[in-house]
Amino acid sequence: MEQKYEAVIGLEIHAELQTRSKMFCACPADYAHAESPNTHICPICTGQPGTLPVVNRAALEQGIQVALALHCTIPPLNIFARKNYYYPDLPKGYQISQYEMPLAVNGWVEVPVGKEGTLQRIRIRRVHLEEDTAKLFHQGDRSLIDFNRAGVPLLEIVSEPDMHSVDAVLAYAMHIRNVLRYLGVNSGDMQKGVLRFEANISVRPAGSQELRTRTEIKNLNSFRALTRATAYEIRRQIAIYESGGQVLQETLGWDEEHEVTLSQRSKEHAHDYRYFPEPDLPPLQIEAAWVEALRAALPELPEARRQRFIEAYGLPVAEARILTAEKSLADYFEAVLPQTQASPREVSSWMIGEFLRHLNERQIEVEAVPFPPQALAELLNLVAQRTITMATAKEVLREMFESGAMPQVIVEARGLAQIADEATLMPLIEQVLQENPQVVESYLNGKESVFQWLMGQVARATRGKADPQLTRQLLQSRLDALRRSRL
């Protein structure tokens, strides 16, 4: 059914900027760490009569840097506007935002879509600055308001409706989050609400170019909500067309619990925002020299870092892409490198293999890894120095994820060091040979494939600590000796 239709999706992303003070006043912006409600407030962000806004330079410059990273054009003049609506979380009865003449326009990104990772270009329509609202909590028949978040800088990134699948939506959203984190302007911590999505969705017959009525899903605060809601809404619209109905233009909410989109009253009449230029703020004139200085100060972005990983470390494209898809993962990788004897390829395969497997299993972010990059570097050193085996290293890593202890400590405490001396290994080998006379017999009769099995028995007897190279050498010489004695 779905192949008969094509979805047309655009995303609006609201990202809080990590400035020290708020967008238009000097209150601390870090509301997540406020000691209690209504403490990061002042006359300005609570909308007291007579107060005036003044633009935060850092927010403006962060906004420009994001726009540059998204390949946008920065027009020479941009202005703020008042967006008028009434809501208890909006202190002034209008939000200072940008409407006509936004900060940046006409950008694009290329994102790998789906399992094949086919690169798709998604255009960015505009990027603009605005202020966040207060937080509402519902309790009985009252709603309670905390203004600590009111006035925190927000960057709104609006895409063109260039996405046609849930995979593309996810890839785009993740890419934007990654860019923001690379720039250090947003923590990407979705649970704290620092990134919020709105999806505009319509569907049309596959192959057609028409634009049909779209719906807008508000307040999607996780990748999971974004993808589930988008998938649901595509199915819902297709079902309406299949049954001969018409999709209504409306604003929808996502019901997390029941996994359905719900109408939030039709929008066209309710929202007449009456935008007009904000008279309290002179226009911003962004000279080319300023833009170039900010461009020059941009940190390395995902694409550039990926390329560098391929060229400087000799990593395969696929591995470089995985490592750079998360700034924190790439940072971790590069923090391990100088501290280890292992090669970049070896570090990379450890991180993409074991390390990421643990993150997935435990559902944690790189930031939550309980040990520093130095610890992983040491672990790989222990392998390189043949102090422990690969098998032991995997076990040590598991323990590191559990306890956060340094590998050296774990190896010593649990006696996991590799057994690499002949005096300890030889008796064990003798024992294995004595306990398995038939197997030895078949080996001596020419069935050399059982050699591996005997190796395994020795490993088992040492709980994986036996140095495989030495074991192989000793076992071979012992078996050779037995063969010679038969002759």
Partner: protein
């Protein structure tokens, strides 16, 4: 002469010579307020305790000769649209009847730092919307020259207080004549400074791109002394001017001989009362005698000024007054069960008719489909109004116009017809969209009521207005006339 009717300059001289104390001066004015304000209604709040304490501190400064300014120890009042920290600020509205601001307006802070003594808050039209002070939600202010007449508005309480000896000077607000019209109706001096010359921080906004704070005084010289203290850039007001503040007193005595006085022909048209016209003609002859060159000039877009002014004002005001929603301050419909109920009742009951008319019209002219034809059109014609002044100032230095076509009108005379009330400001409104400074000063009487004239200068040229106005007051006596009250 009674202490309460001195000019600032005279009072300062007595204070400096320690012939009187600020406490005596302050007590004399407080006594005068008790004596006459029952008839006038200039004050909404009298801060006797604050005033006496500040007077004692001023006396201490005067005694030690430390940080003495021309305003140290001088009692003043503030229009109640300007916030005063810890002192109730109503803006003439029921909705703010009990509002006690948590911060200080910049202009008030600067006056208090200079040692001036705060007597209280002056009556005004609700949210500065009006030309008669009859729109005060509490009581109308009466003209000290004729208690059956209005003092003009919206800074009517301030002008009446200065005229009646209830303060030595006042801070008023002028958005489209609100300082100048009452100054003329009450025979005092009123200055609307260049837009941005005085910080708006703490002025409860009416039309943000027109609003100014300025002094009302008994002489031009006094106005210069007050502006000297309150002018200057403010980090809290992004629209405040960066240009340094000149030494106004130093330029006051310069001769005006040879300066070119422009008479805009669009302002001298039929419709002016005979007595007003006669007073103006005499003033023009006076300037001629002072050696000024009289030129006829044209401000061709004058007929559109009132429409431009009100269109932009309504739009900006509709947003500025959105914050009065019963959530964070002000009166609220406490019984409301829902948010819409809270808003509709709080605002429906809290605002008077004129406020409602204006914010409704503002919302209408900004709403979808009307923005271009109303708001944007007005902003384009506003550009033409500005250019009119720029061209006029190519051929003259100062413009002279009437303040009003007539003298103070009777209470109730224009309340039924909003448009007729708007026309009271027809000579005053163009300066605010243009941003240029304008000075109203007494120039005669018509049937026992004061007549004012308006001087207008280039952007930033307040010093020139003071120079010309002061020269006029050196050769005339009109500004020395006082109403016969309570005697």
């Amino acid at each position: 002469m009674d202490l309460y009717s001195l000019t600032i300059t005279q009072a300062h001289e007595l204070l400096r010579q320690r012939k009187i104390s600020s406490l005596e001066l302050t007590q004399a004015v407080l006594e005068r307020i008790r004596e006459v304000d029952g008839q006038i209604g200039a004050y909404l709040t009298v801060t006797e305790g604050v005033a006496l304490e500040q007077a004692r501190q001023a006396d201490e400064r005067l005694r030690r000769g430390e940080r003495v300014t021309p305003l140290t120890g001088i009692p003043f009042g503030v229009k109640d649209s300007i916030v005063t920290e810890g002192i109730r600020t109503t803006c003439g509205s029921r909705i703010l009847e009990h509002y006690v601001p948590p911060y200080q307006a910049t202009a008030v802070r600067r006056l208090l730092e200079a040692g001036a003594v705060l007597l209280g808050k002056h009556n005004l039209d609700e949210f500065s919307m009006g030309s008669s002070t009859e729109n005060s939600a509490f009581f109308p202010t009466r003209n000290p020259w004729d208690l059956k007449r209005v003092p003009g508005g919206s800074s009517g309480g301030s002008a009446a207080a200065v005229a009646a000896g209830e303060c030595f000077f006042a801070l008023g607000g002028d958005t489209g004549g609100s300082i100048r019209l009452p100054a003329a109706f009450c025979n005092v001096v009123g200055l609307k400074p260049t837009y941005g010359r005085v910080s708006r921080y703490g002025l409860i906004a009416l039309a943000s791109s027109f609003d100014t704070i300025g002094p009302l005084t008994r002489t031009v010289e006094d106005a210069a002394l007050v502006l000297q203290v309150i002018a200057g850039q403010d980090a809290h007001d992004a629209t405040s001017l960066a240009q340094p503040v000149p030494d106004y007193a130093a330029q006051l005595q310069r001769p005006v001989k040879g300066l070119r006085l422009g008479l805009p022909r669009e302002y001298f048209v039929p419709g002016m009362e005979a007595g007003v016209e006669a007073a103006l003609q005499e003033a023009i002859r006076q300037f001629e005698r002072l050696g000024m060159e009289i030129r006829e000039v044209s401000l061709p877009h004058t007929p559109y000024a009132l429409a431009v002014y009100y269109l932009i004002l309504f739009a900006e005001a509709s947003a500025n007054l959105a914050r009065f929603d019963g959530v964070r301050f002000g009166s609220a419909a406490q019984q409301a069960q829902t948010i819409p109920e809270l808003y509709l009742e709080t605002r429906g009951k809290g605002f008077g008719a004129e406020v409602k008319r204006r914010i409704m019209l503002g919302a209408y002219t900004l709403s979808a489909g009307y923005y271009d034809a109303y708001y944007l059109k007005a902003q384009r014609v506003r550009t033409l109004l500005r250019q009119d002044f720029e061209r006029a100032f190519e051929v003259c230095d100062v413009l002279l116009t009437p303040v009003s076509p007539g003298v103070a009108f009777r209470l109730g005379e224009k309340t039924a017809d909003p448009l007729a009330m708007y026309l009271s400001d027809v000579y005053l409104v163009a300066t605010n969209p243009a941003g240029v400074p304008a000075l109203a000063l007494p120039c005669g009487f018509s049937e026992g009521l004061p007549v004012g004239m308006q001087l207008i200068a280039r952007h930033g040229e307040e010093a020139l207005l003071f120079q010309v106005g002061h020269a006029y007051q050196q050769v005339t006596e009109w500004h020395k006339m006082r109403p016969a009250l309570g005697r």
